[in-house]
C-alpha cells in the first residue's frame, strides 16, 4: 500500500478536529444556557435555577477543559502537516486564528475563574456578569474561527502576490460571502446540540423519578426552545444551501446527488452515487423539488456535477450521505420538538414516558449532526483547501513522509482515546449524579480559588 502523506494528513486532521469540534459544539450552547439559568435565578430568586446552574456548570467545566487541551493541538497542525498552506495563507488567516486564540486566552484568564469558583466570593450580579462574559467569549471564538473557515470556502478581499494571499480589505475578508450564513447555521447547530444533550440528561432523571422539580423546569424550557430554534435552523440551512449554490455549485451538486445540469431538478431522497459511471444507482427522488427549494421555481436550472471535470469534483459519496444524515437528524429534531410542544399543550409533557425515551435516544443527535454538517462543508470543498485558489495536495508539508504521519496518527488515537475516554466517563458520572440537593453556602477558606477549568467540578461539589 502506498503511504500518501496528503491523504494521511487529512485523516489526522479529520481525527483531531472531530474530537475538538464536539467540545465547543457543547460548550458554546451550554455557556449561554448557564447565563439563562443564572439570570432566571437572579431575577426570580428560585433556588431550582441555582441548583440547575451549579449542576450544568460542573459539566461545563470538564468539557471546557477538554476543549482547551484538544484546542492547543489544532494550531500546530497547520504547521506540522500543512506548512505550504500556512505559507500561502498566513497573512490573511494568521491574524484571524490569533484573534480566536487571544479571545479564548482572555476569557480563560479573566472570567472563567470567577464563574467556576467565585459564587461565594463576588456579588450575585458580578457572577452573572462573568457568566455572560464567558458565553460572549465562546461566541467571539466561534466568530473568528468561522470567519477563517468561511474565507477558505469563499475567499475574497485579498490580492495574490507571488502565489501568496495578501490582505487588501479586512472587513471584506472577515465578512466574506459565506460567513454570515455559516455563522448562523453553525452557532444555531451548537445551541441545538446543547439543547438535545440537556433534554436527554433531563429525561433520564425524570424517567427515574429523580430531581423531579429541576427536570420538569428544564423540560418545559427546552421544549419551547427547540420548538422555536429547530425550524429556524432548517430555514437557516436552506439559506446556507442557496449561498453554496451561488458560490460552490459543485459542492451543492454533490450534496444533492445531481450529475446533470437541469431544470426541474429532483430532490434525491436516497441513492448510491457511482462516481465512475457518473450516475446514481437505486435512486429514490421527488421530481422538481430541488429546483423549488433552491431556485424557488420548478424551472430553476441547477448545475450538476458534470459541469466540473472529474478531478475538480469532491468525493461525492461522503458529502451526499453526510448531508442526508444531517437533514435526517434535523427532521427527527423537528418531530421531537413538536411532539413535545403538543404534549405540553395537553399538559402531559411531564408524564409521557415514551417521550422521555425518545429524548434520551436523541441525546447524541446534535453531535452527530455537527460532525455530518462539518463533513459536508469540508469534504465538499475538496479538492481545494482554499476554494478555487489552493489545492489540498499542494498544501501539505513537503518534508513529511507517509510513515511519519502514520506514526503521529497512531499516537494521537491512543492518547485521545485514553484521555478523552476518561473525560467523557467523568462527565457521564457528573450527569448521572444530577443537580445538588442544596448549594453549599459555606464561605471557602481564604486563597481557595483554583483557576483551572476541570477543578470547577470539584469546587462546586
Amino acid at each position: 500500500m502506498e503511504l500518501d502523506p496528503v491523504f494521511l494528513s487529512r485523516v489526522q486532521f479529520a481525527f483531531v478536529i472531530a474530537f475538538h469540534i464536539l467540545l465547543p459544539a457543547f460548550t458554546v450552547g451550554l455557556a449561554s444556557f448557564i447565563v439563562l439559568l443564572e439570570g432566571l435565578h437572579l431575577f426570580r430568586r428560585n433556588p431550582v435555577y441555582l441548583r440547575l446552574s451549579v449542576f450544568w456548570t460542573r459539566i461545563f467545566a470538564v468539557s471546557f477543559g477538554m476543549g482547551v487541551v484538544s484546542g492547543i493541538v489544532m494550531p500546530f497542525q497547520f504547521g506540522t502537516n500543512w506548512s505550504r498552506y500556512t505559507d500561502a495563507t498566513g497573512n490573511v488567516l494568521g491574524p484571524l486564528f490569533a484573534y480566536e486564540g487571544l479571545v479564548a486566552f482572555f476569557l480563560e484568564a479573566g472570567f472563567l475563574g470567577i464563574m467556576l469558583f467565585g459564587r461565594k466570593r463576588v456579588p450575585a450580579w458580578a457572577h452573572f456578569f462573568s457568566s455572560i462574559m464567558v458565553a460572549a467569549g465562546t461566541l467571539f471564538s466561534s466568530f473568528w474561527i468561522l470567519a477563517a473557515n468561511s474565507w477558505m470556502q469563499t475567499p475574497v478581499g485579498h490580492e495574490v502576490v507571488d502565489g501568496r494571499y495578501v490582505p487588501a480589505d479586512w472587513l471584506t475578508i472577515i465578512f466574506n460571502p459565506s460567513f454570515p450564513y455559516r455563522l448562523v447555521h453553525t452557532v444555531t447547530g451548537f445551541y441545538l446540540t446543547t439543547a438535545f444533550a440537556v433534554l436527554g440528561v433531563t429525561a433520564w432523571h425524570l424517567k427515574r423519578g429523580r430531581h423531579v422539580d429541576e427536570a420538569r423546569t428544564v423540560l418545559d424550557m427546552t421544549v419551547i426552545f427547540i420548538a422555536i430554534f429547530v425550524p429556524i435552523q432548517i430555514i437557516a440551512g436552506d439559506f446556507h444551501g442557496i449561498n453554496t449554490l451561488h458560490h460552490q455549485p459543485v459542492k451543492l451538486a454533490a450534496m444533492e446527488g445531481l450529475w446533470d445540469t437541469q431544470a426541474r431538478a429532483p430532490a434525491v431522497l436516497f441513492a448510491i452515487p457511482d462516481e465512475k459511471a457518473e450516475r446514481n444507482r437505486a435512486e429514490v427522488s421527488i421530481p422538481a423539488l430541488a429546483s423549488i427549494y433552491l431556485g424557488h421555481s420548478t424551472d430553476a436550472v441547477i448545475k450538476g456535477l458534470k459541469e466540473a471535470a472529474p478531478a475538480e469534483r469532491p468525493p461525492v459519496a461522503p458529502v451526499f450521505y453526510a448531508f442526508r444524515i444531517m437533514v435526517g437528524i434535523g427532521l427527527l429534531m423537528l418531530a421531537t420538538a413538536y411532539w413535545g410542544l403538543l404534549l405540553r399543550i395537553r399538559g402531559r409533557l411531564h408524564t409521557t414516558s415514551t417521550y422521555q425515551n425518545a429524548c434520551i435516544a436523541m441525546l447524541p443527535a446534535g453531535f452527530v449532526a455537527v460532525l455530518a454538517g462539518w463533513t459536508v462543508t469540508e469534504v465538499g470543498r475538496q479538492p481545494w483547501v482554499v476554494y478555487g485558489l489552493l489545492r489540498t495536495r499542494d498544501a501539505v508539508s513537503p518534508s513529511l513522509t507517509g510513515s511519519d504521519v502514520i506514526m503521529s496518527i497512531a499516537l494521537y488515537v491512543v492518547v485521545y482515546l485514553i484521555v478523552f475516554g476518561s473525560g467523557i466517563f467523568y462527565m457521564a458520572r457528573l450527569a448521572r449524579a444530577g443537580p445538588p440537593e442544596h448549594v453549599e453556602t459555606r464561605e471557602p477558606t481564604l486563597g481557595e480559588r483554583p483557576a483551572r477549568p476541570l477543578s470547577g467540578a470539584e469546587a462546586e461539589a
Partner: protein, 334 residues
C-alpha cells in the same frame, strides 16, 4: 506612513516565549522531581503549590505559537514541520500532565497511574522542548520557502543533549520554587535537589557555550570579534555572578533568592541565545524581516494584542498575589 512593526512583534513574541519558559518551566520542573519526593503527603504539597496557576502558565505557549503564525508566517511554515515529532510528543506530554492534576484526585484506584502520567508527561514535554531548543541552535535545512530536512533531524547528539540540559534547567526552577513555597523537610529536600540541578545546568551552559561557537563560525565571530567582545563579555560574567549568588543562597538557606537566581540564569541564557541568533528567526537562513507578515496583517493583530496584553499581565499579577506565601499540607485547593 510606514512604521516597521517587526521589532514590536519580535518583542511581544520574545516576551511570550520567555514567560512560557519561566512559568511553565517551574511547574514542569515539579513534575520532573515528583517521583523522587519522599511520600504521598510531600507529593500532594508539591502539586498544591502549582495547582492554581499551571494552566494560566501554559496559555503563554498558545500566545507564542499563534503570534509566530500570525506575525511571522514563513517562520512558522518552516520551523513547525521541522519539529514534527518533538512538537507532537511535547503536546501529548502536556495533555497527560494536564489531566493528571484532575484525575489523580478522582479515582484512588488509578492514582498511581495518574501520578506516573504527571511525571512522564512533564518529563517528556520538557525533554522535547529542550530538543526543540537544540534544533533551533543547530539551524534548519531550508530550500526555497520550505523545510527540506527529514522528520528525524532531531535524533542527533546536540538536540538530545539540550533535551537533557533542559530537564536540569526546569528541575532547578521547580526545586527553587519549592524552596520558596514550602517549609520543613520538603524544603530541605528541595534545596538538595536545587543544588544538584544547578550543577547540571552550569555544566550544560558551559557545554553549549563551547560547542555553539565551534559549530557556527558566525556565532564565534559575533561574540569574539572586537569590539563586540568587550561588552558581550559582560554576559558570561553576569551569568557567573548570578550562578554564584544562587549557589550561596541555597547554602545559606535563603527562601526567595534561589528562585530569583534561577530565573536570572534563564534570562541570561535567553539573552545569550538572542545575541547569537539575531536577526534570524529561522537559523541560519531566514531573518525576522524575511519572515514577517505584511504590515497590514501585523497591524491588524497588534491593535487587539496591545489591548489584551496589559489585562493579561494584570490578571497574572493578581493571581500570583492571591496565592502568595507558603503552602502546607493542610491547605488544599480541592
Amino acid at each position: 506612513m510606514h512604521i516597521d512593526l517587526v521589532p514590536i512583534w519580535t518583542l511581544i513574541l520574545g516576551v511570550s516565549v520567555f514567560m512560557y519558559v519561566l512559568l511553565d518551566g517551574f511547574d514542569l520542573g515539579i513534575g520532573i522531581l515528583y517521583p523522587m519526593a519522599h511520600g504521598d503527603d510531600a507529593r500532594s504539597v508539591m502539586m498544591n503549590t502549582i495547582a492554581p496557576i499551571w494552566d494560566g502558565n501554559e496559555t503563554w505557549l498558545i500566545m507564542g505559537g499563534m503570534g509566530l503564525l500570525a506575525a511571522f508566517p514563513l517562520a512558522f511554515a518552516i520551523i513547525v514541520p521541522a519539529l514534527y515529532f518533538p512538537l507532537l510528543l511535547m503536546l501529548l506530554g502536556l495533555i497527560f500532565r494536564g489531566v493528571a492534576f484532575e484525575f489523580r484526585l478522582k479515582k484512588t484506584s488509578h492514582r498511581r497511574w495518574w501520578d506516573l502520567s504527571f511525571f512522564a508527561g512533564s518529563t517528556a514535554a520538557t525533554f522535547f522542548q529542550g530538543v526543540v531548543l537544540g534544533m533551533y541552535v543547530e539551524g534548519f535545512t531550508v530550500t526555497g520557502r520550505a523545510f527540506s530536512g527529514t522528520s528525524f533531524d532531531w535524533a542527533r547528539p546536540f538536540p538530545l543533549a539540550t533535551g537533557v540540559g533542559l530537564l536540569f534547567g526546569y528541575a532547578m526552577l521547580g526545586a527553587t520554587w519549592l524552596v520558596m513555597k514550602t517549609e520543613g523537610d520538603l524544603q530541605q529536600w528541595a534545596r538538595r535537589c536545587a543544588l544538584i540541578a544547578l550543577y547540571g545546568v552550569l555544566a550544560f551552559i558551559a557545554m553549549v557555550s563551547v560547542v555553539t561557537p565551534i559549530l557556527h563560525p558566525q556565532i564565534a565571530e559575533r561574540w569574539f570579534s572586537t569590539p563586540n567582545i568587550y561588552y558581550l563579555a559582560l554576559v558570561p560574567l553576569i551569568t557567573a555572578a548570578i550562578a554564584l549568588i544562587a549557589w550561596r543562597a541555597l547554602r545559606r538557606n535563603a527562601d526567595y533568592m534561589p528562585f530569583i537566581g534561577a530565573m536570572g540564569l534563564f534570562a541570561m541564557c535567553y539573552l545569550g541565545l538572542g545575541i547569537s541568533l539575531f536577526p534570524y528567526v529561522v537559523p541560519y537562513s531566514v531573518t525576522l524581516w524575511d519572515a514577517a507578515a505584511v504590515p497590514s496583517a501585523q497591524m491588524f493583530l497588534l491593535i487587539g494584542t496591545l489591548f489584551l496584553l496589559p489585562i493579561i499581565f494584570m490578571y497574572l499579577g493578581w493571581s500570583y498575589y492571591v496565592f502568595r506565601g507558603k503552602v502546607t499540607a493542610d491547605v488544599a485547593y480541592h
